[in-house]
């Protein structure tokens, strides 16, 4: 590439030229223009002439900001230009750096350290301010460490313009390099007493940021914040102080008592909505136990809600959501406003209102609220309609359907929701339907009804959004077919021609369900005809599950209806559920044959489907029919010779298939394995490498053929070992070694329970599962118990059991996120504020609470005219003030600057005046004790 020439400098295009150029670009040519300009910039930026370089960098920054041009390649040029003596060049360089450097990856940042240091100590405030701004945006741990001394000096600069920026920058430095806290924190604290509004604003902002992360460490500063809260008239500062108190008040109850009054005062007096809002939020979030204050705040919330300004309405609703957690009355008072907000023009306001409504949901009102919301959803635009549905589904299913008592209602409700035209929550409804089916046994009857009405409706098949729901409905119909009123009707629904509109995956569910229904019908038929008379126990058990009460009437489809009625044949054993009297359909040979033909006719064409899932399942069904058909054709009534035999075979086959489908697959918890107790003496974590050394090439028996053949050889060769037939190994030698090893290190091995019968030492695979099932059953009982004890009297229907597996299920495992850096900061803060004691802050504050209480007791008799109330509240402030005070007294020893010393003496004096002598002497004594402990931490340049 040609080097930068004089021509470049002379005819360099200015930033304005570039901006105009971009604007004049015909559509589509902009990228070309930018690329061309970039080429120029690349050349120009290498120029030795600072002005040329500066303009090139300026142009590049512009393109970077507004046109997304990468400028990481120019990082070094920024560093170069920053050393220019001209302030304007420096500005361009620093701006470019702060806009483009990545603090964690840009490696030239380190080259900037020296220049930043120089500028931080410059005599020009503008250079200093520039360097501080840059530092705060590109700060990394190295830079923070290297520049902490300069910042420390600036923190007490006489120029407020510089000092406030240093305070703002120090926050980033603390985050990057927590050790800086030990050095600089005291100076930051001093600024809390500044009279300059700018400085105060920044320092309060800084503490606000810090307190959000870890409030406890800043409790000792409460008196300073309180002073600002009472004295300050600047809304920006007050808002920040309120935020700090919102964090501190919950930690120290006496603090809340103290601040609640001034906060209410501010709220009443101020005309600024932002401040009023902040007061409101502070009260509702952190001072909610002060009834009168909350009343005031709720009054203010109402004002906001009634305002025409959508912003205030929105914020009012947000505040109300917070109040609702503890004071439901506030929401009820404003109920009509909330409901009105549901139909606001602004979707954000509607959403807030919706959230608020959902927060009111309890088991008593869930039905009513859902009804109202659904009618609202049907009137709303599709997007908001789905928001409503999503919220309802989420709230109702929360914590294992906590708020649902009447599952029959809920299941029917889900069916209704699925039919809402705009509903896109099919996936969620699908999951919940199946989930309820598995968890809530009592709801299955209603569930089957709902599923039937969904499956049977041909109109739904055309709506892609409900396909998921239909899949669930089909699955439920098949799985719980025994509860179905009319399996024939179900079968027709499952096979209706419009199922062709379904996606392959849903369709395969349909086919599988049809299979289940078919088998159920054939099985019932066989049962009806007394075929299974010879088969005893197993069936009768499963029969008890199905409450079919076949009598007469209501026939399925025309093809089946012309059969003769034979009442006696229809009665199926069982029928314990009384409500099943309406479940009637005919089971005759013809009807079964008709059913089989129907299935065959409808699924036959699908046997050649391209979709494997469909094809495979259809083949299963057809194969089964193929097997059954000849046997069904025979006259089932008369049992003679071969036919009888065939029938028996058939019934066995049907029974087998029926058993396959009727066995309920219980849910298994994710953490089931963990619940299997460890056998005593089993050490899992011990190193097994020594075992490997002994039997390096041993392969544990993995195939059965090994274990079948080997034992015989073993018996011959290693008869000296009595246990050898328990073990199987590929080679005798290693087996014997293994056996020997087992003898010696018995505890590494799992105990073999039935000796002699098992060939290997591993416990049978199904064992843990059995235990889990037992446990699940126990849990069912447990939840049942807990529910019955909790149950309210006013429910007509008892809440059905909801199977929960264990505590871990459904709850997101809250992973403790390690906030190392925050901890470091607050640790250092505590050290500085509380003295260098290895005490935790909580224990420390406890002890100080005690001492302040003691002081109260002392005080009251001393100053008889003191009102008890003020004594207590002041006690709290003074109690924390004392700790703060310590730092001052410590500081006095360390600070050499006479001016500062004077200032502090003055401050101390002021404080002392307001306090008692006893208190003072105590703090002196304590301060004195603390000094030697504290001193090693203070670096040399403090002195």
């Amino acid at each position: 590439m040609a080097g930068p020439s004089l021509m470049d400098s002379l005819f360099q295009r200015s930033l304005d030229d570039i901006i105009k150029g971009v604007r004049l670009c015909p559509p589509g040519t902009e990228p070309t223009f930018i690329a061309k300009s970039l080429d120029e910039i690349r050349r120009e930026v290498k120029s030795t002439d600072r002005q040329t370089k500066a303009i090139a960098l300026q142009k590049l920054t512009y393109l970077h900001c507004l046109h997304g041009v990468d400028m990481s390649w120019a990082a070094f040029h920024c560093v170069e230009l920053s050393s220019s003596s001209a302030h304007s060049h420096k500005r361009i360089a620093y701006l470019a750096a702060s806009l483009s450097f990545n603090p964690s990856t840009t490696d030239v940042i380190l080259l900037l350290t020296h220049q930043l240091r120089k500028d931080l100590s410059s005599s020009s405030v503008h250079d200093v301010s520039l360097a501080l701004s840059t530092l705060s945006s590109i700060c990394n741990p190295d830079l923070s460490r290297d520049l902490t001394p300069e910042l420390f000096t600036l923190l007490s600069s006489g120029k407020p313009f510089v000092r406030k920026k240093a305070i703002a920058a120090i926050l980033r430095v603390f985050e990057q390099y927590p050790d800086a806290v030990r050095v600089c924190f005291k100076r930051v604290v001093e600024n809390l007493e500044s009279t300059d509004v700018g400085i105060l604003s920044v320092v309060v902002g800084l503490f606000c940021e810090l307190a959000v992360k870890e409030p406890r460490s800043y409790l000792p500063l409460a008196p300073e914040f309180y002073k600002i809260l009472v004295d300050c008239r600047n809304n920006w500062i007050l808002i920040k102080v309120l935020k700090i108190f919102a964090k501190l008040a919950p930690l120290e109850p006496r603090l809340g008592k103290r601040v609640v009054e001034p906060i209410c005062e501010h709220m009443g007096r101020t005309g600024a909505k932002s401040l009023a809002f902040e007061c409101m939020m502070t009260i509702v979030s952190s001072l909610s136990e002060y009834e009168s204050a909350v009343k005031l705040a709720v009054g203010k919330v109402r004002e906001f809600l009634l305002d025409d300004d959508p912003n205030l309405k929105y914020l009012g609703l947000q505040a109300l959501t917070i109040v609702a957690q503890k004071h439901m009355w506030a929401v009820l008072e404003n109920k009509e406003l909330v409901v009105k907000a549901l139909s606001d023009v602004d979707v954000n306001i509607k959403l807030e209102a919706l959230r608020l409504v959902m927060s009111m949901v309890s088991e008593d009102n869930v039905m009513e609220i859902c009804r109202i919301l659904i009618s609202h959803a049907q009137k709303s635009d599709p997007e908001f309609c789905n928001e409503i549905l999503g919220y309802i589904l989420f709230t109702c299913s929360r914590n294992f359907y906590e708020v649902i008592c009447d599952f029959d209602w809920y299941v029917a409700f889900l069916g209704e929701v699925a039919r809402i035209p705009h509903c896109q929550k099919g996936k969620e409804i699908e999951t919940q339907l199946i989930d309820i089916g598995m968890r809530v046994k009592d709801a299955r009857l209603e569930l089957v009804d709902v599923a039937r009405s969904l499956v049977i409706d041909p109109a739904l098949l055309g709506n892609a959004f409900v396909h998921g729901v239909l899949a669930a409905a089909a699955w439920i119909s098949g799985e719980y077919v025994a509860l179905s009123r009319n399996p024939f009707e179900l079968m027709e629904a499952l096979l209706q021609p419009r199922t062709g509109l379904l996606t392959p995956s849903v369709r395969s569910v349909y086919i599988q369900s049809a299979f289940k229904v078919l088998i159920f019908c054939i099985w019932s038929y066989g049962k009806l005809n007394g075929d299974d008379a010879s088969e005893p126990s197993a069936l009768t058990e499963s029969v008890s599950k199905c409450d079919l009460e076949g009598t007469s009437e209501t026939v399925v489809c025309e093809s089946l209806s012309d059969t003769e009625v034979d009442n006696e044949n229809m009665i199926i054993a069982g029928g314990q559920t009384s409500s099943a009297s309406s479940r009637k359909y005919r089971l005759t040979k013809e009807s079964i044959m008709g059913l089989v033909n129907l299935v065959e006719a409808n699924l036959g064409p699908l046997a050649g489907s391209d979709e494997v899932e469909i094809q495979e399942r259809v083949s299963n069904v057809l194969g089964f029919i193929e097997l059954m058909k000849p046997k069904l054709h025979g006259p089932l009534g008369d049992g003679e010779g071969d036919e009888m035999k065939g029938k028996l075979e058939a019934s066995e086959m049907v029974k087998l298939m029926f058993d396959v489908f009727s066995e309920e697959l219980g849910p298994v918890s994710l953490s089931a394995q963990e619940k299997v107790p460890l056998p005593d003496g089993l050490v899992l974590k011990e190193n097994l490498s020594d075992l490997e050394a002994i039997c390096g090439d041993v392969k544990f028996p993995s195939s059965t053929s090994f274990s079948l053949i080997q034992p015989r050889i073993l018996e011959k060769d290693t008869s000296s070992f009595p246990e050898c037939n328990e073990e199987s190994g590929p080679s005798t030698e290693s087996t014997s070694l293994l056996a020997e090893h087992r003898k010696r290190h018995g505890l590494y091995y799992l105990p073999s329970e039935n000796k002699g019968t098992t060939f290997n030492d591993f416990p049978p695979a199904h064992e843990p599962q059995d235990k889990t099932i037992d446990e699940a059953e126990d849990l069912v009982k447990l939840t049942e118990e807990s529910l019955t004890s909790k149950k309210k009297q006013n429910h007509i229907k008892p809440r059905p059991v909801v199977v929960k597996l264990d505590d871990g299920e459904g709850l997101n495992m809250a992973v403790e996120k390690s906030k190392v850096k925050t901890d470091l900061i607050s640790g250092a803060v505590r050290e500085v504020l509380l003295g260098n004691e290895p005490m935790t802050s909580s224990s420390r504050s406890k002890s100080s609470n005690k001492s302040s209480k003691r002081r109260e007791v002392d005080r009251i008799p001393e100053s008889g005219n003191d009102i008890v109330n003020t004594a207590i509240s002041e006690g709290s402030i003074a109690g924390s003030g004392r700790r703060k005070h310590q730092t001052h007294s410590k500081e006095r020893k360390h600070l050499s600057s006479g001016k500062e010393k004077e200032q502090h003496d003055h401050n101390d004096k002021q404080k002392r005046d307001s306090r008692h002598h006893k208190h003072k002497s105590r703090q002196r004594a304590e301060g004195g004790i603390n000094v030697p402990v504290q001193s090693p931490v203070i670096p040399d340049f403090l002195l």
Binding site: S88, V202, G205, I239, N311, V345, D346, I349
Partner: protein
């Protein structure tokens, strides 16, 4: 951190100024800006000025053809941010005299300096218009 970013966007959705107080790479910035602009510009005057996006709250306000969008974290006071936006606009107005999109385009650097005076590290550090403008005026005089 309080303020996380300040954006100025015109009616067409083109970014006219972007200042971030936490590092995002170009790609992340572009997506974020795109999403937010799409969300906010579609809203009407009758709707409120707050939009929740990802883990930000976006507070925005429209002045003539320019949208001022400020992303803040959840702790921030929305109304105060609205006031901050207004202050920013007033300050620019005072400096440029009836500020418009072109002023910001051609004086992007100055706009950045004004912001720099007002916000540092995501904290509002100066709220007095004359204090904000005095360094810039000095700079103008010097050049």
């Amino acid at each position: 951190m309080g303020i996380r970013f300040v954006l100025m966007v015109n009616k067409q959705g083109q970014t006219r100024l972007a200042q971030y107080y936490e590092y995002l790479n170009l790609e992340e910035r572009r997506t974020l800006e795109g999403e937010i602009v799409r969300k906010c510009l579609a809203r009407t005057e009758q709707q409120c000025s707050f939009v929740e996006h990802r883990n930000y709250k976006v507070v925005y306000r429209r002045y003539a053809s320019l949208f001022f969008l400020v992303g803040v974290d959840n702790e921030e006071n929305e109304l105060a941010i609205l006031e901050f936006i207004h202050l920013l606009v007033e300050t620019m107005d005072r400096h440029f005299g009836n500020v418009c999109e072109l002023d910001i385009m051609f004086h992007l650097e100055k706009a950045h300096f004004m912001l720099e005076e007002m916000v540092m590290n995501g904290c509002i550090v100066e709220t007095s218009k004359s204090n904000i403008l005095s360094p810039i005026q000095l700079m103008d005089k010097a050049s």
